[in-house]
């Protein structure tokens, strides 16, 4: 029997964005015990350029995304005891492990929500970096959008870059109701 090949969708829809937003909210509400607020997409008022850590995971299947979870230094220090049950030193391997796990958990939750709406994909192992003003660049400059979140004590962001299979046209992010901004690139 011939395998069935589904085309890779290079489109990020309102439904996808809702999945991503809810995954971040549910994951960090559960871990922090606080109510996380969604601050919007590509919210330039949010302080992205700060010292902190990022976790990166690729999602590959019916879609082709790269997600980056950004956690400022104060946020990861605050999350340590809540997530692991003990303080985690900022400059430690344990902190890298924690950020990797958090990225993993968010990505796993996103995949489950996508699966429930008929989008099948798998995720890579996480890559973690620590530094200041961290920003990922891709040679093909895929369209991307960034969601910002905060509570009284923590702030974080999640960036999604949308790829597409070579030769299948452009990738783009639709401007859905309630999500404000549009970002697309031909």
């Amino acid at each position: 029997m011939q395998p069935i090949h589904h085309p890779v969708s290079g489109t990020l829809t309102a439904l996808h964005l809702e999945c991503i937003k809810q995954s971040v909210l549910d994951t960090f509400n559960a871990i922090s015990g606080e109510e996380l607020l969604f601050l919007g997409i590509n919210n330039n008022g949010h302080n992205y350029k700060t010292e902190g850590m990022i976790g990166i995971i690729s999602i590959v299947g019916d879609i082709l995304w790269s997600i980056t979870l950004g956690l400022p230094k104060n946020t990861v220090l605050s999350l340590g005891p809540k997530f692991a049950g003990f303080d985690i030193h900022y400059y430690s391997d344990d902190m890298g492990d924690m950020v990797g796990e958090l990225t993993n958990i968010v990505a796993g939750d996103i995949l489950a929500r996508l699966d429930a709406i008929g989008v099948s994909a798998n995720m890579s192992l996480p890559t973690v970096a620590r530094g200041s003003d961290l920003e990922l660049f891709s040679l093909v400059r895929p369209p991307s959008m960034r969601m910002a979140f905060s509570t009284e004590n923590i702030e974080l962001w999640l960036k999604v870059a949308v790829g597409h299979a070579i030769g299948t046209g452009k990738a783009h992010i639709l401007s859905p109701n309630g999500f404000g901004n549009e970002a697309s690139r031909k």
Binding site: N104, A107, L125
Partner: protein
């Protein structure tokens, strides 16, 4: 009840969290063997000396799904409970782990002491 548990996860902090949470459940007196991936776990998994396994899904070298399948081929392994503890939450993955690989239970990260107690209690009850 004394149990030797094999804890496999590529994240050291997650292994520490699983071990601490297991102790906090109060369901048994645990001693631990750790492995950072499925391949290392397969070497350390001796059904005569390991009573229960806690298995992450996404690990380098050999993932948790393949570990459970391969470990089940060892003589005496069929009676060793294998608990998946993973961030993979899709229904399809859960069904694969339980039906195809032969895992006994599925716990999603992040997890609480109560959730682990709930999943483990019937399994440990069967081991008595």
């Amino acid at each position: 009840m004394k149990l030797k548990a094999l804890i496999m996860d590529d994240s050291k902090i997650m292994r520490t969290m699983i071990m601490k949470t297991l102790e906090d459940t109060g369901l048994a007196s645990f001693s631990f063997v750790e492995a950072k991936d499925g391949a290392e776990a397969l070497v350390k998994f001796d059904p005569k000396h390991i009573d229960i396994c806690f298995v992450d899904w996404n690990m380098p070298t050999l993932n948790g799904f393949d570990f459970v399948k391969k470990a089940r081929e060892k003589k005496g392994a069929e009676s060793v409970p294998m608990i998946m503890i993973t961030s993979e939450k899709s229904m399809g993955k859960m069904i694969d782990a339980l039906d195809q690989a032969g895992a006994n239970a599925y716990v999603c990260k992040p997890f609480t002491v109560e959730e682990l107690q709930h999943k483990l209690s019937p399994i440990l009850e069967n081991m008595k």
